[in-house]
């Protein structure tokens, strides 16, 4: 992977009237990287993608694709390909015509066009569907045509706008791998918008978490998982979501004290100002269940959900926690369990700024 930047965003701002949709976005995407933009709906991730495509005009900042300034450049001159959530296949054209639309606009010679079509059709497995119309295809096939239409152009960047959200769960998992494999094979630069953090985590080299038009954090998927910069990122990445408990740093500065006397204090593995108001974050999969070294606390089980390979426990007062255990358990609602968390897996966030400490 070369480090030369394919897409550069410097201080991007976008206003819709008085609404500030994108606030000072800075993002550099090296050539060949797969970047996922992830966040809840309305966070600006689609707006950012559409700005990259040229479908929205940015209000401020600098946008470069392959070194060329893109501010105000119309979409057709940007040489990027976009896969839409609804696929946006042209209903009055056959699969072949859909695939070759961009080539026909460029005036590519017939022979070359035929070769490109065959190659792409083979790549995405549509050889025998070329003369069908989009309405005669299944959801998965339409998705492939949309991909093919992007691939055939060999664009400077691929932009994906939640391309898998209209597929059923099984197909989605399958297409996830396929898109990633395609990306690697083509050596393409891809920007992928999704609201599904699993998609972002599994597919991307680099994940950008957005909220309210701001980049909350960016980094490799495991980086975000291990070292979330804010409480929002911590809650957004990982499934089931992280448990959050308000607390205060104890007098020794190395453990937390909870407001309730019936919850034992928790060592945090670092030194902080005593008395500081914090939020403790515990990932469900990091909470160990069973008679521990005595540093744990005893909680009562409220709900037990088994999936076969994993078991989800929910505890009740004094502390409601979601816990993921591998394997199965004999525990039943009402039972008491000993839980403990290794101090390396305790996340501490400032109560006020919600930033990681």
């Amino acid at each position: 992977m070369s480090a030369e930047p394919q897409i550069e965003l410097i201080g991007i701002d976008k206003y819709y009237g008085s609404f500030h949709a994108l606030k000072d976005i800075n993002l550099t995407i090296p050539k060949g990287q797969f970047v996922a933009l992830v966040g809840p709906s309305g966070c600006g991730k689609s707006t950012l993608l559409r700005s990259l495509a040229g479908l929205e005009n940015i209000s401020g900042g600098t946008m470069k694709i392959a070194g060329a300034l893109m501010n105000g450049v119309p979409p057709r001159k940007r040489d990027v390909a976009m896969v839409f959530q609804s696929y946006a296949l042209y209903p009055h054209m056959t699969v072949e015509q859909n695939l070759t639309y961009s080539l026909r606009l460029k005036g590519v010679p017939k022979e070359e066009m035929r070769r490109a079509t065959e190659e792409v059709a083979r790549t995405i497995g549509l050889d025998n569907l070329l003369h069908r119309y989009p309405r005669e295809l299944s959801g998965g096939q339409r998705q492939r045509v949309a991909m093919g239409r992007a691939i055939i152009r060999h664009p400077k960047a691929f932009l994906f706008d939640e391309p898998l959200s209209n597929l059923d769960a099984a197909l989605r998992v399958h297409m996830r791998k396929e898109i990633r494999a395609l990306h690697d094979r083509l050596g393409a630069t891809s920007v992928y918008v999704t609201h599904d953090q699993i998609e972002a985590m599994t597919m991307a080299d680099h994940v950008v978490v957005m909220r309210d038009g701001v980049i909350e954090q960016q980094g490799s998927p495991l980086d975000l998982y291990d070292r979330p910069a804010t409480r929002f990122v911590a809650g957004f990445i990982g499934s089931p979501a992280m448990n959050f408990i308000p607390a205060r740093i104890g007098p020794d500065g190395a453990s937390t004290v909870f407001d309730r006397p019936d919850i034992r204090s928790l060592p945090i593995g670092k030194k902080l100002d005593p008395g500081r108001e914090v939020i403790v974050g515990l990932r469900p999969e990091h909470i160990a269940v069973g008679a521990a070294d005595g540093a744990g606390m005893t909680l009562k089980v409220a709900v037990v959900e088994s999936t076969g390979s994993l078991t989800y426990l929910t505890t009740e007062e004094p502390l409601q926690l979601t816990i993921v255990m591998t394997g199965r358990t004999e525990l039943a609602p009402g039972d008491a369990v000993q839980v403990s968390v290794p101090s390396a897996h305790v996340h501490i966030f400032d109560a006020e700024t919600e930033r990681a400490l």
Binding site: A53, G54, P75, A88, P91, Y101, L105
Partner: protein, 275 residues
């Protein structure tokens, strides 16, 4: 119980109303081939005793119908052409942009529909007279009638454009087309059915246009068939079967077009352009 009967009852009412509306058409055809005395016989006969088909050829020649019908076609064709070319662009803009000016524009367009032709004809006549348009009376009528037909066309075609997903256009833009190119290669083909249907309806209503033609066109050589028909109705006119024969010749082509295209028209009006 009532549940199962209600649709049948409503269907019966609908058919009854349709019959009331369509009976005159039937009566027109029947009367046209009746003899003078049979027309006034009491009780009336519902099927002519001695059909006289010759009346059609007679009226066709005697009333110079080819000239009148040609004028109708010219006027209707002109109205349709202007309405389709201008109205399609207008409808597209009204469908794709949303702001206060668009709302004002749409309101003005709908206002045109509210004003009846009989109210508009006098100011139009005066205006056309001032700029000398009355020397080209058919052109004047085409302009006036196109203005009248425009709102209906724009509102219906706008709905058709709105049913074309925006993403298709955006996809075409990213694929390398210009705004105008995307309109012609993506949006227009998809809206074609709706536009065609509205064009046919516009043509048919312009084919029967009367008020503007009657007031603006003086020369019989330039008048459309609707005005020609009214020439029959003098104070002493009793030539009912000729009048009915004239009407039948006038109406039959429109009816035929409608029957042939009926399926498409209904589909185009109810379902939008896609699918």
């Amino acid at each position: 119980m009532t549940r199962t009967y209600t649709p049948w009852f409503l269907l019966a009412v609908a058919l009854g109303l349709a019959a009331i509306y369509l009976f005159p058409v039937y009566w027109m055809y029947v009367t046209s081939v009746k003899s003078g005395s049979e027309i006034f016989s009491n009780p009336p006969t519902f099927w002519p005793a001695d059909p006289n088909i010759g009346v059609f050829g007679d009226v066709w020649a005697r009333r110079a119908m080819p000239t009148y019908l040609w004028n109708s076609v010219v006027i209707a064709g002109g109205v349709t052409a202007i309405t389709v070319v201008l109205g399609t662009g207008c409808a597209y803009v009204l469908a794709r942009y949303r702001n206060v000016w668009i709302d004002i524009g749409l309101f003005c367009v709908l206002m045109l529909q509210v004003l009846p032709a009989s109210v508009m004809v006098t100011p139009l006549f005066v205006g056309f007279n001032q700029i000398g348009l009355l020397n080209y009376p058919r052109t004047a009528v085409v302009l006036a009638a196109a203005a009248k037909a425009m709102p209906f066309f724009v509102v219906l075609v706008r709905a058709t454009f709105m049913s074309v997903p925006r993403e298709l256009e955006e996809s075409a833009l990213v694929d390398g087309n210009s705004r105008v190119g995307a309109f012609f290669s993506i949006v227009l083909p998809l809206a074609r059915n709706g536009i065609l249907v509205c064009a046919i309806l516009t043509f048919m209503s312009a084919f029967g246009e009367y008020i503007y033609s009657k007031s603006i066109i003086q020369s019989p050589v330039l008048q459309p068939a609707s005005v020609g028909l009214s020439g029959f109705l003098g104070p002493n006119s009793t030539d009912w079967n000729s009048i009915m024969a004239y009407s039948a010749i006038y109406v039959t082509p429109i009816l035929a077009i409608f029957v042939i295209l009926q399926r498409r028209i209904v589909a185009g009006l109810t379902s939008g352009a896609l699918k």
